[in-house]
């Protein structure tokens, strides 16, 4: 009888590498034959498209502000139109020598927007800051103070107008929206009905009809001899429009508050307004911050519509700049691409910011 000795079985081989670039490519691009085929087809098409676009937009492009250079056979994109017209595109019909004021006002406004997005500024005095900066913005743009020549609002245009319309209308729309959202959930049938009709009416019609109303019908609505600047009228139109959409977003947040919160508040003896102010709104608004941001992005894009009622913000300023100059008229597409890039830069950074805020808001719930 032989003694049994412990004989370990051979160790299993180490698993195939699962990290690293080569493995990632194998798993994600050539997992099986259908994926591989897809990669080849899509990749081929992509390569074809990218080389053509690059050749048009970069290698064969004309960069100098010389419209004759753009008309040479074989030249691709004509970025000269941007080099030539960028001041007109960015500031519209604002007087050329005074454009530093528009630039300063825009930068100031941008700083304010960025500041409002950072946590250190989420304090009550932010409201005061907004009032002050808006005051300086209007003083810079309108002039007529401290030796600055007056610039009427019908000459305002380009990026400052876009930013002003978007940020001011969402700020003004916010309190209206909170009121309407509370009204739609009120126990009082008449108030509920008024708010519901307002929201459904506005949401059922396109923004452009609201803008037409602001520009054509508003003068008829007012008492005789009473006239308001078209910029203010359009701003009012956009504000009322944005408020209806914002109200629905906020109502979504209100609906998500569990009933127990209201009951607890009632037990503590809080009145309706105390309950809303101290219990419901802080929770509901925090929940819908990402949706509010999305709303703001939508509104920022929608400001391009004021072109149709002859306010020359970014899109309108571009059309004005190029249509007024026969030399550059064939190169509209390049101009459009340029402002598309500006809009994209703004909206994309805002959507990234909205993702960040979402994370911040959800931190409380994370365990």
């Amino acid at each position: 009888m032989t003694a049994t000795t412990f004989d370990p079985i051979a160790a299993r081989p180490a698993p195939a590498k699962t990290s690293g670039a080569a493995e990632w490519i194998r798993a994600n691009l050539f997992g099986d034959w259908t994926t591989g085929l897809m990669t080849l087809l899509v990749g081929g098409a992509l390569l074809y498209a990218v080389t053509h676009v690059l050749s048009w937009a970069v290698f064969r492009a004309a960069w100098l502000p010389d419209h004759n250079a753009c008309r040479v056979e074989g030249v691709g994109a004509c970025w000269g139109v941007v080099a030539e017209k960028y001041r007109f595109i960015l500031f519209g019909r604002y007087p050329f020598e005074e454009q530093w004021r528009a630039l300063a006002a825009t930068l100031l406004m941008l700083c304010l927007l960025v500041a409002s997005c950072t946590r250190a500024f989420w304090r009550p005095w932010l409201v005061v800051l907004w009032a002050v900066v808006l005051g300086i913005f209007f003083a810079l743009m309108y002039g007529n103070v401290m030796g600055l020549p007056k610039v009427e609002t019908d000459r305002w245009g380009g990026l400052p107008l876009t930013i002003l319309l978007a940020s001011l209308s969402i700020t003004l729309a916010f309190p209206i929206a909170v009121g309407v959202a509370l009204g739609r959930r009120s126990n009082l049938p008449a108030i509920r009905a008024v708010c519901t009709v307002y929201v459904e009416l506005i949401r059922g019609v396109p923004l452009i009809s609201v803008l037409f109303m602001a520009s054509f019908m508003f003068p008829l609505f007012m008492p005789e001899g009473f006239s308001i600047d078209v910029l203010i009228r359009v701003l009012a139109g956009i504000t009322l429009f944005a408020a209806a959409y914002l109200a629905e977003v906020i109502r979504g947040g209100l609906q998500a508050i569990p009933k127990g919160q209201l009951e607890a508040a009632a037990t503590l003896g809080l009145s309706y307004w105390q309950t809303q102010k101290k219990i419901v709104l802080p929770q509901a608004l925090a929940m819908v911050v990402p949706s509010i941001m999305n709303n703001f992005i939508g509104l920022f894009k929608d400001t391009s519509l004021v072109t149709i009622v002859s306010l020359y913000e970014l899109t309108g300023a571009l059309s004005l700049a190029i249509n007024s100059d026969a030399n550059w008229r064939p190169f509209k597409l390049e101009g459009y691409l340029f402002i598309a890039l500006i809009y994209f830069a703004f909206c994309f950074s805002m959507s990234r910011y909205s993702l960040w805020v979402e994370k911040q808001v959800n931190k409380g719930q994370a365990r």
Partner: protein, 391 residues
């Protein structure tokens, strides 16, 4: 046994909630009523002072302008109401085609975000981010510049087989109607009936015996085959009215104007990016276990998406999808910026000619309100059908 508390008696003192509620409501209604009355009386007064006529009687008068494209014949001698009707049909045409195209493209893009292929995933992501973050008006303008200015003239139109693409739009052959086509149409109808009957029969046998049969490909084949047979029985008429390249324009055949192409493509591409996000969020809302269970049953990833995950995601998808359809319909009003004669464009032209701002803008608002309410009614109906059937 629980006893309900007696209903609270309403006490009409100043401290009672009931009275205060009543007062608030009265104030609100009065404020709104007074506001509307004030605006209306101002408007009346202003119209009188400026000598603006009011009323919808202008609808019966000759319009005096031509319309670039319409579903039926229109000339400037015809009344305004017919012009508005053309605007309405043009709006609906763009909205319907746009909804179909953007749903197809958006679903593909949304599903593409879950592809195992990183290239496809990345492309779908890039599409959504780029398209979503540029205003739709700007995109429409860009498409219009592309179709109306970048494309070659009719003389050197791009040719794809029988299709011509040029500054004049897209020209394509249309079949000429002949008596033989009637056979084809009746063949298709018969095919549809047969395919439907086959589907029901295979459902029944599946439930009785558990024997699975094709519910899609065979009925489709039956439908197409019977249709082709009917067409062949009618003598296989195949005469087309094909476009011909003329000296200055593409003649004959069917054609789509550059305005129409720009509006439909621009709106579909823009809305598809939003629909893609809606579809993605819907699919993500289906719990992981469903996909894993499908894989355990041996379904391929494609089958798992088509048969298990997508149908469940549909319940989450439908309400926001309705919103996107409504947005598309409302955004079709931007076509006014590129001169496509939809209802807003007709209204502004009429407004400039007659000066009846209130009436023209009310017509536009009424049209959109009606379409919005109808669309949401239909989608709510569909939503109820797709909702979970609970016992």
């Amino acid at each position: 046994m629980t006893r309900r508390p007696p209903p609270a008696k309403k006490v009409w003192t100043w401290r009672s909630r009931a009275l205060r509620g009543l007062v608030y409501q009265l104030i609100a209604v009065l404020a709104v009523g007074l506001g509307v009355w004030w605006l209306a009386s101002n408007t009346m007064h202003n119209m009188q002072v400026r000598g603006i006529q009011s009323g919808f009687d202008f609808l019966g008068r000759p319009a005096g302008f031509d319309i670039g494209e319409s579903l039926y014949e229109f000339d400037s001698g015809q009344p305004y109401w017919r012009a508005f009707l053309i605007g309405l049909t043009n709006t609906l045409r763009v909205a319907l085609i746009g909804i179909v195209l953007s749903t197809l493209l958006g679903t593909l893009l949304g599903v593409g975000r879950f592809s195992r292929n990183a290239l496809v995933r990345g492309l779908c992501y890039a599409y959504v981010e780029f398209v979503r973050n540029v205003p739709v008006l700007l995109q429409l303008l860009m498409w219009y510049v592309f179709f109306a200015e970048v494309l070659p003239t009719a003389a050197d139109a791009w040719t794809f087989g029988p299709l011509f693409l040029s500054k004049g739009g897209l020209s394509f052959p249309i079949p000429i109607w002949e008596a033989g086509h009637l056979w084809g149409v009746s063949g298709l109808l018969a095919g549809a009936v047969l395919a439907f009957a086959y589907r029901r029969w295979s459902f029944r046998t599946f439930e009785a015996t558990g024997q699975p049969r094709s519910l899609f490909w065979v009925p489709l084949a039956v439908f197409v085959l019977v249709g082709v047979l009917g067409w062949a029985a009618g003598g296989a008429p195949a005469h087309f009215n094909s476009p011909v390249k003329g000296e200055f324009s593409i003649e004959q055949g069917g054609s789509l104007t550059p305005e129409f192409l720009a509006v439909v493509l621009g709106l579909s591409i823009y809305t598809a990016a939003f629909i893609a996000e809606v579809v993605r969020a819907g699919i993500q809302s289906v719990v992981r276990g469903q996909g894993e269970a499908a894989a355990a049953l041996g379904l391929s990833p494609g089958q798992s998406m088509r048969l298990v995950r997508l149908p469940q995601a549909l319940r989450v998808i439908i309400p926001p999808l309705t919103n996107q359809y409504l947005n598309l319909t409302k955004n079709s009003s931007l076509a006014v910026a590129i001169g496509y004669p939809e209802v807003v464009s007709i209204a502004t032209t009429s407004l400039n000619q007659t000066g009846r701002a209130v009436e023209c803008i009310s017509i536009v608002m009424l049209v959109y309100l009606t379409t919005s309410l109808t669309t949401s009614f239909f989608m709510n109906w569909y939503n109820r059908r797709a909702a979970i059937k609970e016992r």
